[in-house]
């Protein structure tokens, strides 16, 4: 009996060492970089643990004070992906999100950290959920070339905004104050607000038109924002991008086209929202 116990203990020890070794050796590729999970664990303790917690489940000591809540790496539902809804993002997606930060949350841009450090962090983050081993990352969607923005494209995008009922959450002027806005919750039942185009200087998942296109087509997992990949053709998605750019407080080319056209044609526009139905 005693011998069996010793063998069992030895086996358990080897298993533990084996698993530990697996985590320590886990690596990811981000461009030319190879992120190392063991190295990332140290950096995670320094930079991330306060919000995302020691177990990566988004329950760090600061989580209770933060809105929106920190990402739960164990659930592995990520907002900003280049991959279809429901799939895991690529390591590069995580690297880019970490580098960019999330404009209207407490997640800062970690650009000042060495790229190797960020790659190591990605590798460690990918140890929190078994999905990374069982499923792997999804395949990035293809983003076709952007057609030129013109007033017709913007108007078609406006019509799509109405047809897909984007206004129900984002409001008719993009202020995030649509009739459904106050009822929205995320996948953890935390209240969540729709994106307010009128104050944000950049989007949650990037600043470019392609980033906005990607958001429509991949959705923002873990939030009520769905993927419209099945409803929108690429040209329709680009039209919607061009329209949404007119709602931002930025001097975008689309806003320039829109503001030049609007004064002489405002009365021709169909109202958005319930009045437009």
């Amino acid at each position: 009996m005693k011998l069996q116990t010793q063998w069992a203990a030895l086996g358990f020890g080897l298993l533990t060492l084996s698993l530990a070794g697996t985590v320590a050796a886990q690596q990811v590729k981000v461009g030319n970089l190879t992120g190392d999970a063991a190295a990332g664990k140290k950096e995670y303790r320094r930079y991330c643990i306060g919000c995302h917690g020691p177990n990566g489940d988004g329950t760090g000591e600061n989580a209770q004070w933060i809105d929106p809540k920190p990402r739960d790496f164990v659930a592995a539902s990520f907002k900003c992906r280049s991959t279809p809804t429901g799939t895991l993002p690529t390591s590069t997606d995580l690297f880019n999100a970490m580098t960019r930060g999330f404009v209207n949350t407490n997640m800062p841009s970690w650009l000042p950290l060495p790229a190797q450090t960020r790659a190591n962090l990605v590798a460690y983050i990918e140890t929190f959920s078994p999905r990374w081993k069982t499923q792997g990352s999804g395949t990035p969607i293809t983003i076709p070339a952007e057609p030129a923005a013109d007033i017709q494209s913007i108007l078609r995008g406006r019509a799509t905004f109405q047809k897909l009922e984007c206004w129900k959450c984002h409001g008719t002027t993009g202020h995030g104050d649509g009739p459904s806005a106050s009822t929205l919750t995320d996948s953890k039942d935390n209240p969540i607000r729709p994106f307010n185009f009128s104050v944000a200087t950049r989007f949650k998942c990037g600043a470019t038109n392609a980033d906005l296109y990607r958001i429509f087509m991949t959705g923002v997992d873990g939030t009520p924002m769905p993927s419209f990949a099945d409803q929108l053709q690429p040209n329709e998605a680009w039209d919607l991008v061009h329209f949404l750019r007119t709602l931002e407080p930025l001097e975008t080319p689309e806003a320039g086209i829109w503001n030049a056209w609007l004064p002489a044609h405002e009365k021709e526009l169909q109202p958005l929202g319930e009045q437009g139905q």
Partner: protein, 489 residues
């Protein structure tokens, strides 16, 4: 209140230097008579100790950690020293760069204040000191003695207010006290960030720390002799220049940085008061220029190298009334400069901070001669070189070992024929800091340090001892042992 310190072989050390390093609340009286001197009075020793601990004014601001919910370690290699992320945060005007930097996003009850102090036990021991042959009997004659003091004590205290007034408008107000509770404004400024929507243009106005690549306000040393960079405060024996590279200055600064703050520059125009308020000296201005660039060295970390130059003038003659100098009316300006290189190099968990500086003062400053007067025979512009190498080993974000070796070498004395090594300094510090807690609400470090400063024929810059030297041909060795709990909230 005018206090003076005796320095070596009967030469007089201008007390204004010490008081200005102290950030004294009474700078007017000092600067009004810059070339008058007396011998050390009975207050000298307490003044010296004020200096050694009052200088422990550092910058780590849990007010920001509370505001953004980040642990100390996010911005600090080991607080208070900044890491690359913390440097970028500071360069952006205490903003993360997202859309929530404006205070409008914060709970109205949020109050951007931080307090920091270090209850401690320390020992200070300094030899080659002139002490009375019979204690208490000032007529018994001076003999060479060793002064040893030890016991429980307090450091100075910082009361930081810092944050954003609005998006891209930030501020700092820092009332700071010595360990007796005597306050002065260590810093107070407003900064306009991202002018022209570019990180390359940021304008600061008020009293602030010079943009030194290796900050004395954020370093990891607290002891009497180790709690200052000798290089940042040294002036030659007999020199009346009050400038200290580590002293906060008052003026305005244009600074800029790349998006990740790997490339940085700063240009500052400063009053020639060494940071003192009240228009105490003259009407000329100093200039400080700094530039640094960092590279991403992969697994090693971020490697930064920078250069700096400070070019200033100090008045040597004042208008007077009844023989008393009138503050702020200084003329006959004489120039000085400090130029150098510094770096911050990481090798994984190991950090090296090298520093080199060449400095020179005009002969009038070096000899304490009014500009209208005649220079003594053999007078020349004193010049010196200083350097240090500081090392940190980060066992983890909550435990760091520290060490530093520093030297100051005179290359030309103010009076030809003066021993070439008079005033030279060798200093070493070793220590460690352990942070038993590290989260976003406050910080605590158990700090332990040993330091030794050897000065040739001059009292240590720490102010330890009696502020003088018995045998100016010999070294003065000043030891410090320090352990304490450094906390901020």
């Amino acid at each position: 209140m005018v206090k003076w310190l005796t320095r070596g072989r009967g030469e007089e050390w201008c007390g204004c230097l010490i008081l200005m390093l102290l950030g004294s609340a009474t700078p007017l009286a000092v600067s009004a008579t810059p070339f008058t001197s007396t011998t050390a009075g009975p207050d000298t020793r307490s003044l010296a100790h004020d200096y050694s601990l009052a200088l422990n004014t550092r910058s780590s601001i849990p007010a920001f950690a509370r505001k953004y919910g980040l642990a100390c370690s996010a911005c600090h290699t080991a607080w208070p020293e900044l890491n690359a992320f913390g440097q970028a945060f500071r360069d952006r005007g205490y903003q993360l760069g997202n859309d929530r930097d404006s205070p409008i996003w914060k709970d109205p009850s949020y109050w951007p204040v931080t307090v920091r102090i270090t209850p401690n036990w320390h020992l200070e021991k300094t030899d080659n000191q002139p002490v009375d042959a019979t204690p208490g009997d000032g007529t018994s004659g001076l003999v060479k003695g060793t002064v040893t003091q030890s016991g429980f004590d307090l450091s100075g205290m910082d009361l930081w207010f810092a944050g954003t007034l609005y998006k891209d408008i930030s501020f700092v107000v820092l009332p700071s006290s010595d360990n007796t509770g005597s306050f002065h404004f260590e810093a107070a400024f407003v900064r306009f960030d991202n002018l022209f929507k570019s990180g390359w243009y940021n304008f600061k106005f008020g009293k602030f720390e010079l943009d030194n690549l290796i900050s004395e306000k954020r370093f990891l040393f607290l002891s009497g002799n180790g709690g200052l960079y000798q290089s940042y405060h040294f002036v030659p024996v007999g020199d009346v220049n009050n400038f200290g590279l580590g002293d906060n200055q008052i003026g305005m600064e244009m600074a800029g940085h790349s998006k990740n703050s790997y490339t940085r520059y700063g240009v500052a125009v400063l009053s020639n008061t060494d940071g003192d308020v009240g228009l105490t000296t003259g009407q000329s201005y100093d200039a400080f220029l700094t530039f640094s660039h960092a590279i991403d060295a992969g697994k090693l970390g971020v490697e930064r190298l920078g250069a700096f130059g400070y070019f200033g003038q100090r008045p040597t003659t004042f208008q007077s009334s009844g023989g008393a100098a009138i503050p702020g009316t200084g003329t006959d300006n004489k120039s000085f400069y400090r130029v150098g290189l510094s770096g911050d190099f990481f090798f994984g968990s190991f950090e090296l901070l090298p520093f080199f500086m060449h400095a020179s003062d005009d002969a009038y400053l070096g000899t304490g001669t009014p500009g209208s007067g005649t220079l003594p025979a053999g007078a020349q512009s004193p010049a010196w070189n200083s350097a240090f190498l500081e090392a940190h080993y980060y066992v983890n974000p909550q435990f760091v070992f520290t060490g530093r070796y520093e030297m100051v070498k005179m290359s030309q004395q103010a009076i030809a024929g003066t021993p070439s090594d008079l005033g030279n300094i060798n200093a070493v510090s070793l220590g460690w800091r352990w942070y038993p807690i590290m989260f976003s609400r406050g910080g605590l470090a158990w700090h332990t340090e040993f330091s030794l400063a050897q000065t040739k024929g001059a009292p240590p810059l720490s102010g330890n001892g009696v502020g003088g030297v018995f045998d100016a041909t010999d070294w003065v060795k000043s030891y410090s042992v320090f352990t304490g709990f450094d906390f901020d909230f």
